[in-house]
């Protein structure tokens, strides 16, 4: 089975150089100058200044038509020209997690158009979601974005659109880390 658990190690050296760390909401994260994204297992101990751990899981809200469209146009991480990245750990509030599946879906899609918004920036902005909540991590989700320097403006536009949605009201901790290779 392919390894789908990853450790994001924040340290003083590593694969990606940190260009900025901004605390958008909630408690800050200790400053680091580099982040490495490495295949993990749940047993090994954590290293670096901090390690955030996430799992690639099945899609939890995406419906069939959206899934077909996504699969058709999205691209993987690791493209040669995608030398810019953003690593955005977020946590959602207890209010969010107490909602039922249909209520969460309604907020994400009908009111916030999460999938449609992301789709507009495909394939330029590659995106991978890592689930952390079930691992009792400090964040619920870690999202890793990769794009070419020429798509940097499009990326800001995407983030701006997501952050003003109804869904984002349920986020109680968010750190925005920018990186370059």
């Amino acid at each position: 089975m392919t390894n789908t658990i990853f450790d994001f190690i924040g340290d003083s050296s590593g694969e990606w150089e940190v260009t900025s760390i901004t605390t958008i909401k909630g408690e800050y994260l200790k400053p680091v100058t580099h982040i490495s994204k490495v295949p993990s297992n749940l047993v090994q101990s954590k290293s670096g200044i901090w390690t955030l751990r996430g799992i690639v899981s099945n899609l939890r809200y995406t419906e069939k038509e959206e899934k077909l469209k996504l699969t058709a146009i999205q691209e993987d991480l690791g493209r040669e020209n995608a030398t810019y990245a953003a690593f955005i750990p977020i946590r959602k509030s207890e209010d969010w997690w107490n909602l039922a599946q249909d209520e969460r879906r309604k907020i994400m899609e009908n009111q916030s158009q999460h999938t449609q918004t992301g789709m507009k920036y495909l394939p330029a902005i590659a995106r991978k979601l890592f689930h952390s909540r079930d691992l009792r991590e400090p964040f619920d989700f870690l999202t890793w974005f990769e794009y070419a320097p020429t798509d940097a403006d499009a990326f800001e536009e995407l983030l701006y659109a997501l952050r003003k949605t109804e869904e984002w009201n349920y986020i109680d901790r968010e750190i925005d880390i920018r990186l370059k290779k």
Copy 2:
């Protein structure tokens, strides 16, 4: 935070005595005479003849009305008169996991009435679902049922109803372990 990760340790001694282990589908599980359900963390190594690990997570398919009904009538594990238990690890096929959220929900509820069926047997049959798939475990889900000996027939009826549903066609490994305290 309450511990929501559990190890189910199959061994030659323990809290619950195994009265039968039946392989319903797929590869068998090594025989054990006892199972203990203990709070876990993801780091400690596994023990016993085998250990299966699962996480209590948020509800993935339940809609608002169903959730309200469930919360109103379901009871917790650990009731004094619930001296019978069943521990049923299952794995679903890749076909299942490749479906989109709406397709899985449709199969679970419209076609299989998973929640409604379980609800009919509440509060008599207490039930707790543990998620294992994201931990790269051999099973996707571990379900633990507890009931009084007088509700044993009702429990067989519930299992029979679930196993003949459309949803159950997607199960490619299932072990049925019965226990008493």
